[in-house]
């Protein structure tokens, strides 16, 4: 019988897979960023579960840092999306081929 935090680790693994699939298959930057949020959330779940499993607080502190990094990522990423949409009128990754010549 699995304990609660072990179950949490498995759920976080499954969520990470789903998020990874989202990043790989979607071609819209907005959806890719939303999928990255799923990845970060899955990592958070793993951190909190590990914190409970090892009976220490480190996991929860690191989870807080992950959240701060996610906030930065969202701020910069969304600013980039707005900027891109203004110049290209599209946020599909396939339309962003300027560097390929």
């Amino acid at each position: 019988m699995l304990t609660l935090p072990e179950l949490g680790l498995y759920f976080s693994f499954l969520m990470f897979l789903v998020g990874l699939a989202g990043v790989m298959f979607r071609k819209n930057i907005l959806f890719m960023m939303l999928s990255v949020e799923i990845l970060l959330n899955a990592a958070n779940l793993a951190f909190v579960s590990a914190s409970r499993l090892t009976n220490t607080m480190d996991g929860q502190v690191v989870m807080f840092f992950v959240m701060a990094v996610a906030a930065c990522e969202a701020a910069v990423g969304l600013a980039l999306i707005i900027s891109l949409y203004r110049t290209k009128a599209s946020i599909e990754v396939d339309d962003l081929k300027a560097l390929r010549g």
């Binding site: 609660l4 298959f25 959806f31 779940l45 607080m57 969304l78 600013a79």
Partner: protein, 189 residues
Amino acid sequence: MNLVMLSFIVMGVAAVLLSGVMITRRWPVSAAMVLISVMTLLAGMFGLLDAHFAAVSQIIVYAGAIMVVFVFVIMLLNLPPEELRYGGVTVGEMILSAAGVAVALVLGTKVGQGYLSVGIEELGILKSENSLALHRPLFGPDQNVKNVAATMFVEYLWAFELISFLIIAAMIGSVVIAKKRSAENANAA
């Protein structure tokens, strides 16, 4: 199988399924809303894991701030629904990612579980000379906020300060990126 375990499993399954739903949405707003419900479910799971502060900050920071920015941008751009196209991923990429998943699985189940079940005491971290580490607070449902703070502001103080620099940099960066276009347009006009 007690009530806590049961609700944890229900929430976990729902969170995984809803993230699957999220990545197949056509409307960005629907996807954002589904993601918010995933985050709320995760907050509930954190609560069941006795991490009350993590649960509350998950809702305040993630669902209440980061996702509001997402929704704001989605509404600002007012994007049309996107056609789903599952092309564009080659067989090689599929194989590589499958290999990555396999590696992650092995690491997660064998090495990670081994490390985690050994516990931090047996790895000798607690026996180090560091006097701060001797007073490191342990996990407990009571005083959760206090314990998080005691760990964050003693052991992880430098990480905390560096994160604050990162946030300031991101803030300035996003303002610069989002503003630049309109300034250039104004010059051109």
